[in-house]
């Protein structure tokens, strides 16, 4: 177990290093010069040369990478070309918004799909199961930004449960802030919840057909006790992996849905910064998002081993 853990941690570090290289190289080789977006088209060649020198753009790429990586490791994300302020400071509030949105969406996915998946499987073929199957099909095929627009319309404009576009800052109060974030989180969570319900239902039904469930019944278990005591833990194993992959999807979904709800999160910052060729900001966001996804997958891998004794020690 210890050996596996060490191996996994090393693999995690290697993956993150690769991410930094890709993020750095990709934005260094795409056409476009950050100096022109900073100085404008009328800048003199002398001005451009001076700026390139100041930003370190004349150094070879590997030197620039190492310098950037060194800063990254010590928490210095560099300075934004565009805003002239440290990237860390610039991103602080964006990160709060996006992470709050992502965590809220994940909690919603778990809270919605686990009970519904269990009920659908427990009463397979019943009214609830059939209604859920239809709802699932619809929800799954609606993209999250469309769900977002519908939520803005219904809950924001018709029912007036929140004021679209007028985001409350967490400084004024976490309650109103989370209430506002609940609606975009729902937009991100709905399509994924539908998939998770379908997946969990299938996993439970497949486990219910296994030999050990027949053994459980032969000992006098009712259908419910067989489900809770025997099936769930086994059925959750594939679902945990699926939920870990969901994290990547949530991050991507959040970026789009932020636009619909007017949230100044990482998504908005990313789009603006790419337009401005503000590479330090873009690279920091890419590395940040990749780190969240990779770390969540790592956590899922560990959880997977805890849940399935057959994988321990491997």
């Amino acid at each position: 177990m210890m050996k596996t853990l060490v191996k996994r941690v090393l693999l995690l570090i290697a993956t993150l290093l690769l991410v930094t290289i890709l993020a750095f190289v990709a934005f260094s080789i795409i056409p476009g010069d950050p100096t022109s977006s900073i100085l404008g088209v009328e800048a003199t060649p002398e001005q451009i040369a001076a700026l390139r020198d100041r930003l370190g753009l004349n150094l070879p790429i590997w030197q620039r990478y190492l310098h950037w990586l060194g800063g990254l490791l010590t928490g210095d994300l560099g300075e934004s070309y565009n805003y002239g302020m440290p990237v860390a400071q610039l991103l602080a509030t964006c990160v709060t918004h996006t992470l709050t949105l992502a965590v809220l969406a994940f909690v919603l996915i778990v809270a919605i799909s686990l009970p519904l998946g269990i009920i659908a499987a427990r009463y397979e073929g019943g009214v609830v199961d059939r209604v859920l199957t239809i709802l699932n099909q619809i929800t799954m095929s609606v993209p999250n930004f469309v769900a977002g627009i519908l939520l803005v319309y219904v809950f924001g404009l018709v029912l007036r449960l929140f004021q679209p576009g007028a985001i409350v800052s967490p400084q004024t109060g976490w309650g109103p802030y989370l209430w506002y974030m609940l609606f975009p989180a729902l937009a991100v969570a709905l399509p994924r919840s539908a998939m998770t319900v379908k997946m969990l239902r299938g996993a439970i039904l497949s486990e219910l057909g296994q030999d050990y469930i027949r053994t459980a019944y032969s000992k006098g278990n009712s259908k419910s006790s067989a489900l809770w005591r025997h099936v769930l833990r086994n059925a959750m194993i594939p679902v945990v992996t699926f939920l870990a992959m969901t994290v990547a999807d949530i991050m991507a979904g959040s970026i789009v849905v932020e636009q619909v709800f007017g949230i100044p999160g990482l998504g908005k910052m990313l789009v603006t910064s790419i337009g401005n060729r503000d590479y330090p900001v873009v690279q920091a966001i890419v590395v940040l998002i990749a780190t969240v996804v990779v770390v969540c997958n790592f956590a899922a891998d560990l959880l997977y081993r805890v849940m399935d004794p057959r994988l321990r020690g491997r």
Binding site: Q210, D211, Y212, R214, T215, A216, Y217, S218, K219, G220, N221, S222, S225, H230, R233, N234, I237, M307, D308, P309, R310
Partner: protein, 269 residues
């Protein structure tokens, strides 16, 4: 009479008509008896075992006739009423020891599960009973196995765990549905010894199901031969083995590999 099965019919209704898996099956089992049911696969022997245990799906399988256990008609019981017999007076072990245990549950809780369901015994006492049942099933190192998972055990040991779990409440009847078919021959002999011991020491009646008349002969007093859902021959096991009345029974006996036949087979290739 402990178990009395009369004119049992098991059918699978489907759009094209009925498929009758078991037809007019009758069998009596007295306390402490060891009875064998033999037949090739598809002869309906496992189906009969599942019917006695109440494990057939009530929606898709039609069971008629009578299965009386200590005077109670099991076929008239609701599912909830039937549960009070399952794992308590009636127990079963299956053919596949590799898949019949829950892979993510430790051995201990699986062995004592029937105690948890049917009694209000405190955990400490349950564990004591589980360890006793494991010793009876030929697992002397129960204390160590208690905290292990099924995948850490061999097939033979898993089947012993299944036996221990089935015995933990000292049932009156243990149904053994091809319990040694998936195991190799030496382990098979050891498991048969264990079952014989359990019958002798605890007086638990055993209904032993196999496709192998030789295995039945090593364990049972009485045998029922089934073919395509029907009983074709029944009687004292030695009688049936040495003087089979039916061609089917003769073929079952002849199909057992013997030393001479193995030699003859070897010369071919």
């Amino acid at each position: 009479m402990m178990l009395q099965i009369e004119h049992l019919n098991i059918a699978f209704p489907n759009p094209k008509g009925h498929f009758e898996a078991v037809k007019d099956f009758s069998l009596h089992v007295e306390e402490g008896q060891v009875i064998g049911i033999v037949g090739e696969s598809g002869s309906g022997k496992s189906m009969t075992a599942h019917a006695i245990m109440g494990l057939l799906d009530r929606k898709s399988v039609k069971v008629s006739g009578s299965i009386r256990f200590e005077g109670v008609e099991l076929l008239d019981l609701t599912r909830t009423q039937m549960r009070s017999y399952q794992g308590k007076d009636l127990s079963i072990i299956f053919q596949e020891p590799m898949t019949s245990l829950n892979p993510t549950m430790k051995i201990g809780p699986q062995v004592e599960e029937a105690l948890r369901i049917h009694t209000k015994m405190p955990p400490k006492e349950r564990k004591q009973r589980a360890l006793e049942a494991m010793a009876l099933a030929g697992l002397p190192n129960g204390e160590q196995l208690y905290h292990q998972y099924p995948h850490q055990l061999s097939g033979g040991m898993r089947q012993r765990v299944m036996i221990a779990a089935a015995l933990v409440l000292r049932p009156k009847l243990l149904i053994a549905d091809e319990p040694t078919t998936a195991l190799d021959v030496t382990i098979q002999a050891q498991i048969l010894d264990t079952l014989r011991e359990i019958n002798r020491k605890e007086g638990i009646a055993i209904l032993f199901i196999s496709h192998d008349l030789g295995v039945i002969r090593a364990l049972c007093h009485h045998v029922v031969v089934m073919q395509q859902g029907e009983i074709v021959e029944a009687g004292d096991v030695e009688q049936v083995f040495h003087h089979p009345q039916q061609g089917y029974t003769q073929r079952l006996i002849a199909s057992r590999p013997t030393r001479t036949k193995l030699k003859a087979g070897g010369s071919h290739g």
